[in-house]
C-alpha cells in the first residue's frame, strides 16, 4: 500500500528514510502534543456551552484574564520601545562590550522563571534595593499589578530585539543615503524610511512578546502577591482551580487562553506572510 500512496503524497527522491522519519515524527508529535491538547479540547467540549459560558464569565476568571492581558500589553509595549532601541544600538553602533551586551539579551530565555521571580521580588519588595527607593516615592511594585508588569517585561524582553535585529542588519543603507541626498533630516529618514521597513518585525516581536507574557507563570507568582481580583493572573487561577479539584473550571480557563494563544499565532503567521509579500523577507 505505501508504494501506491507515497508517490502521490511526496515527490520522488533517491534519499531514503522518508517513511520512518515522517512516521516517527507524526507518532511522537501525536503522543506528546496533539493527543494531550486534544484531551483538553475534548474536556472543554464536554462541559457544554452553558456551563462553559458560566465558568468563563465568572467574575474572578474575568478579572484574572483582564490582568493577564493588560499587564502583557503593558510589558510588550515597553519592550517594543526598548527592544527597538537595543536592536538599533547593537546593529548600528560599535562600543566597548557590545558582544557581551548582545549575549546578555538572551538571559530571560536561559534563566529559569522561578529564579527570575524570586530575584525580582527581592529587588522590588519594600526593603529591596529598588523597593527602598520607590516605596517612599509612592510606588508600590511588589505584590501589586505593577509587579506583574515588571516580571512580564523581564521574561518577554528578548523577543522584539531578536526579531528586529536581523532585519535591521539586512536593511539596505542605500535608501537612507538616498533620503539624505534628497534633503531629509536624520529624524525624518528614520521615521519615514527606516521605521516602515522595520514595522513587520516590530509587530511580530510585539505579538511574540505578548504571547509569551500572557502564558507566563513562574516569574509572576512570586512578585504578584496573588490577591484574587487584584493581582491574580489567569495561569495561576488554573493552578488554583486544579488544586481545588475543580477540573471543569481549570479546563474552561485553559481552553479560553489556548484559543487566544492560537489566534495570536495565526496573526503572527499572517504578519509574516504579509511582510514577505510586501518586503520580500520574513519578519
Amino acid at each position: 500500500m505505501p508504494a501506491a500512496v507515497l508517490p502521490r503524497l511526496k515527490q520522488q527522491s533517491v534519499v531514503p528514510g522518508f517513511g520512518p522519519a515522517l512516521g516517527f515524527t507524526l507518532f511522537y508529535l501525536s503522543i506528546v502534543v496533539l493527543i494531550p491538547l486534544g484531551a483538553l479540547a475534548l474536556r472543554a467540549a464536554g462541559l457544554g456551552w452553558s456551563d462553559f459560558w458560566q465558568l468563563a464569565t465568572d467574575p474572578r476568571t474575568l478579572a484574572a484574564l483582564r490582568l493577564s492581558f493588560l499587564a502583557s500589553l503593558g510589558a510588550a509595549s515597553i519592550n517594543v520601545v526598548f527592544g527597538l532601541l537595543l536592536a538599533w544600538v547593537l546593529v548600528r553602533y560599535d562600543f566597548p562590550g557590545r558582544r557581551l551586551v548582545d549575549a546578555v539579551i538572551d538571559l530571560p530565555f536561559a534563566l529559569p522563571t522561578a529564579v527570575a521571580g524570586i530575584a525580582l521580588t527581592s529587588l522590588y519588595a519594600p526593603n529591596g534595593w529598588v523597593g527602598q527607593v520607590l516605596t517612599p516615592l509612592g510606588f508600590k511594585v511588589a505584590y501589586t499589578p505593577l509587579g506583574v508588569i515588571v516580571a512580564l517585561t523581564f521574561v518577554s524582553l528578548p523577543f522584539v530585539v531578536r526579531t528586529v535585529q536581523p532585519v535591521l542588519q539586512d536593511l539596505d543603507r542605500d535608501v537612507e543615503e538616498a533620503a539624505a541626498t534628497l534633503g531629509a533630516t536624520r529624524r525624518h529618514t528614520f521615521l519615514r524610511v527606516v521605521l516602515p521597513a522595520l514595522l513587520p518585525a516590530l509587530l511580530t516581536g510585539y505579538a511574540l512578546a505578548l504571547a509569551r507574557a500572557v502564558g507566563e507563570y513562574g516569574s509572576v507568582i512570586f512578585i504578584a502577591g496573588n490577591i484574587p481580583y487584584v493581582s491574580e493572573i489567569a495561569p495561576l487561577l488554573i493552578v488554583i482551580r486544579l488544586e481545588e479539584f475543580n477540573y471543569a473550571a481549570a479546563t474552561a480557563v485553559a481552553a479560553l487562553m489556548l484559543g487566544v494563544s492560537f489566534t495570536m499565532l495565526l496573526i503572527i503567521n499572517l504578519i509574516q506572510a504579509w511582510s514577505r509579500r510586501r518586503f520580500g523577507h520574513g519578519a
Partner: protein
Amino acid sequence: MALEASLDIHPSVAAAPWRSPTAESPAVKWTLIGVALAFLGFFLVLPLVAVFVEAFRSGVGVYFEALVEPDAVAAIRLTLLVAAIAVPCNLVFGLAAAWAIAKFEFKGKNLLITLIDLPFSVSPVISGLVYVLLFGSQGFLGPWLARHGIEIVFAVPGIVLATIFVTFPFVARELIPLMQEQGSGDEEAAISLGASGWKTFWLVTLPNVRWALLYGVLLCNARAMGEYGAVSVVSGHIRGLTNTMPLHVEILYNEYSFSAAFAVASLLALLALVTLSIKSFLEWRHADGLKAVRGH
C-alpha cells in the same frame, strides 16, 4: 592642496568634524547607547546580581549547607535525570522531523512545521494541565492506570512528559531551517556513490548540522532543567521524591529560607550563564554552521 585653497572653505565648516549623512551625531549616539545599557542593566543584570548577593547573604557556610542538604541533593538529582531523558528524546525527534521536512517534498509540510512549534505558544501551566486531564485520577486514562498501578501524574513520568512538552520544538526548529537551506545534494551524492542511508546520515548529514544540533540541545537542556510552571502542575511537590530544583527553590522561598532558596537558585543562574556563554561562543565561532539560526 591647490584645489583646497582655491575652494576657499569657510573656517566654521572646515573645523566641524565630518559626519556621514546616515549617521547620528555623537551626542545622540551616546545618549541612545546610554539609555539602552541603563535599561538592560536595570532589568536584566540587576536581578542576576541579586541572586548571587542574596545567596551569600548569610555566609558561605549557609550557602554550601543548603546545597548538600538531602532534599536539595534529591532535587538536583531529579533535575539531572529529567533532563537526561527529555533532551535525548527531543534530540532524536528533532533529527527525524528535520530529515523528513528538509530532505523531502510532501503535502502538509507547512502545517507540520506549525504543529511542531505549537508547544511554544502554550502556557507552561496548560502544558502541565493537559497531562493531568489525560492521566490524572479524574482523567481519561486515570481509572485504567490506577487499576494497573501505574503512576504518571504526581510522579516522575509526569514530570518527564511535561518537560518533553515544553522543550519539544528546540532541536527541531534549529535543524529544520538549516537543513532546508543545505538541501539534499550532499546526501544524493553519497547515495549515488553507494553509501547506505545510515552511513550517509552519520558521515554526511550529521557533520553538516553538528553546530546547530549542539545549539538546539543547549537551549533544550537549559529549559528542561529550569522549567517551573508545567512541572509544578504535574509534580505533586513531594520533597525528596518529585521535587526538581526550581520547585525546591519555590518551597524554600515560601518557607522564608531565603538564603537557601537563593543558594539553589544561584546554581540555576550559573547554568543559565554557562548556557549563554556556550551559545555566544557558537554564534561567534560557528556562525556558518548555524546560518539559518539567526533571528528566531
